[in-house]
């Protein structure tokens, strides 16, 4: 666990909306999370819950004509990143915070060699002399487990496999020794054995470089393997947060519980899987009150009317469900 006063990234009340002609999609609707030093925090949720948008918003990568930051603060080392202009943000991107994206095919530029792409953050942020850049690039490639790095520097992305490309992405994110890496579903497009290798790699690098990791995924299995703390998102809000143990052994929010119960495994053979009826609400047409109430087996009248607040269970374990938390109606929204 982390010391509460050593927080690298703190997101408070983040709201990101997307406006179109006749609707407002509230993709992220008041989200709080934080990442401590040397900690691995997982942001878990299904597609459409707003986790990727939250991550993009941290680095100011949300395209701002359709999107807008409707509120909140993103504190990185004391500075509110949402207030910074593009130039100041450029300094943070790649340098203070590194990012690894999901699709290794499209995140690397197909017309530049690997060497040129790894060198780019080094050149921009660290202004190293060329000889040292090459040295650093080779070191980075071997750190991420790519063999024959000298040859790889001259290769183009299409000559590498998916796993290798993802390793290169990780190397690029690490290049300038950032304090925090944000990884958005980096292993979703990879085979399961390659995924295991990449997860091991990330783990190892985190130990050796002392970085914090914000890992975004929909795969609860991956979360169970690497997370220190977990935030569960649904329809743009955080519905539960806690240490990995607490979430997997004793989750409180009906959504988290249902999600865990719907995971197939061979132990459940012969039994029906408990699926969640219905579908995730469209970000522009969310139900009133608790966003999960139409699908929730424990919903009561108040769930339809009032937006619930977070209820604490143990330390660092909280869930946005006053029913589970035994709250009275007057305390519902706290």
């Amino acid at each position: 666990m982390h010391a509460t006063n050593d927080i690298v990234l703190s997101v408070e009340g983040l709201k990101v909306y997307f406006r179109s002609e006749d609707e407002i999609a509230r993709a992220v609707d008041g989200v709080d999370f934080e990442v401590g030093r040397r900690e691995t925090v997982c942001l878990v949720g299904e597609s459409g819950c707003g986790k990727t948008v939250s991550a993009l918003a941290v680095l100011g990568l949300v395209p701002c004509p359709p999107g807008e930051i409707a509120g909140g603060r993103v504190l990185f080392n004391g500075q509110n990143l949402l207030d910074q202009d593009d130039e100041a943000l450029q300094n943070v991107r790649g340098r203070g915070i590194g990012m690894v994206f999901q699709e290794p095919q499209t995140s690397l530029n197909p017309v530049f060699t690997i060497g040129e792409q790894i060198a780019e953050p080094l050149r921009i942020h660290l202004s190293l002399p060329e000889a040292e850049i090459r040295q650093r690039s080779l070191q980075l490639l071997s750190d991420v487990g790519i063999d024959a790095p000298e040859q790889r520097l001259a290769d183009y992305p299409h000559q590498l496999s998916g796993g290798q490309r993802q390793r290169v992405m990780i190397a690029m994110a690490l290049a300038c020794g950032p304090e925090l890496i944000i990884a958005d579903e980096p292993t979703t497009a990879l085979d399961v054995t390659v995924q295991a290798q990449i997860l091991r790699l990330i783990n190892r690098l985190q130990q050796s470089h002392g970085m914090s990791l914000l890992y975004i995924t929909h795969d609860l299995g991956v979360v169970s393997q690497i997370a220190d703390r977990v935030y569960v998102m649904y329809a743009g809000v955080i519905v539960e947060t806690g240490a990995a143990e607490q979430i997997f052994r004793g989750s409180r929010h009906p959504y988290t519980q249902a999600l865990l119960e719907s995971l197939p495994s061979r132990k459940k053979r012969g039994r029906r899987l408990n699926s969640i009826p219905g579908a995730v609400p469209h970000p522009a047409y969310k139900p009133a009150g608790c966003p999960f109430h139409p699908r929730c087996p424990q919903a009561i009248g108040a769930c339809r009317e009032q937006y619930p607040g977070m209820c604490a269970f143990d330390d660092h374990h909280a869930a946005r469900c006053p029913v589970a938390g035994g709250r009275s109606l007057t305390d519902w929204c706290r």
């Binding site: 085979d191 290798q197 299995g221 169970s224 197939p264 061979r266």
Partner: protein
């Protein structure tokens, strides 16, 4: 050796299936080599049961599916559907079998024609099933939609108006429109969210119970396979590495690749941490250099030099349990 049939009537038996793709280079497209996508694959699926075909991307499982459907011609081997060899049949001869063997695809977004309504898409299947006349077709259409849990009003909508899970249901309805006995499910839930996966898996199971369908369930997700399948075959680079009843496969995996796969699968219930043993580097070119050797050598923790020369045939290692490794 092919797996013995577990029942007197296997609805599907594959023996020695082979598919090699030529690698062409140069101005005149000379064939310089072959990609051995599917090599000597043998499988058996009993009626009313589910056979899981597990493997990672590029192992050839989708190629096998396409050959069963005759969408891709096989180079060699036999595909016996209820005892009849349908491998290499002409389009005309394959027609009656098309009603018997159907497929559900992985990608809910690409598997439905964006310019046809749901009703029209399902209507194509009904046409092929010989349903004529507006009223019978309408009734059958509504029945199909209801079978997969969709409202009848869905028939007038276009695919883009539905979510991924709903589109997958429509895809299943399309496969069922000709009343098949064997349905090939090519990663049907891989592209879906967790909570929707469970809905679709439940649906597939219900349909199997209600309609007596047999499934060839292709997936890379061992958790789903472990839940749904009666038998499992593990495929790697075009070859079946292990074949066993599901329980047996998970309790007593024999092939080193199966071990690797199982170790790599995260299990939220046990919270097993990432395995510490090294699996090996990225694919090497060993397979091309030693075509007779085992295809898993480049990554196998138990390999030695003999593996270069001999990968082994599928040999029996227990009741209904076959493995391709000369060590076992």
């Amino acid at each position: 050796m092919e797996p013995e049939s577990t029942q007197t009537t296997d609805i599907l038996r594959i023996e020695g299936l082979k598919k090699h793709f030529p690698i062409r280079r140069g101005l005149f497209q000379r064939t310089v080599g072959w990609v051995r996508a599917v090599e000597n694959v043998s499988l058996a699926l009993a009626g009313g049961k589910t056979l899981g075909l597990v493997g990672e991307s590029g192992c050839g499982k989708t190629t096998v599916a396409r050959m069963i459907l005759n969408l891709l011609p096989a180079d060699d081997g036999r595909i016996l559907y209820n005892g009849v060899d349908i491998c290499g049949l002409s389009d005309k001869d394959m027609q009656p079998f098309r009603k018997e063997i159907q497929i559900v695809f992985q990608d809910p977004y690409g598997s439905l024609n964006p310019r046809m309504t749901v009703g029209q898409t399902l209507g194509e299947g009904l046409r092929m099933a010989g349903i004529r006349g507006r009223r019978p077709a309408q009734e059958r259409l509504e029945h199909l939609l209801e079978l997969v849990g969709m409202a009848p009003a869905a028939a007038d909508r276009y695919p883009h108006e539905f979510s991924g899970g709903q589109r997958q249901r429509i895809g299943i309805a399309r496969a069922l429109s000709v009343e098949p006995s064997l349905v090939i499910c090519d990663e049907p839930v891989s592209a879906l969210d967790v909570s929707i996966q469970a809905q679709i898996i439940n649906l597939l199971k219900d349909l199997q119970d209600r309609l007596g369908l047999s499934y060839l369930f292709i997936s890379h997700d061992l958790n789903v396979v472990g839940y749904l399948c009666h038998h499992v075959a593990v495929m790697y680079k075009g070859q079946i590495m292990e074949y066993a009843p599901a329980e047996e496969m998970f309790e007593n995996p024999l092939h080193p690749y199966t071990h690797v796969l199982l170790a790599a699968v995260p299990d939220p219930e046990t919270g097993k941490k990432v395995a510490t043993e090294a699996v090996g580097g990225e694919p090497a070119e060993v397979v091309a250099a030693f075509p007779e050797g085992c295809r898993f050598q480049s990554k196998c923790p138990e390999r030695d030099d003999r593996c270069r020369l001999f990968g082994g045939d599928l040999t029996k290692a227990g009741a209904g349990h076959y493995v391709r490794c000369w060590r076992k």
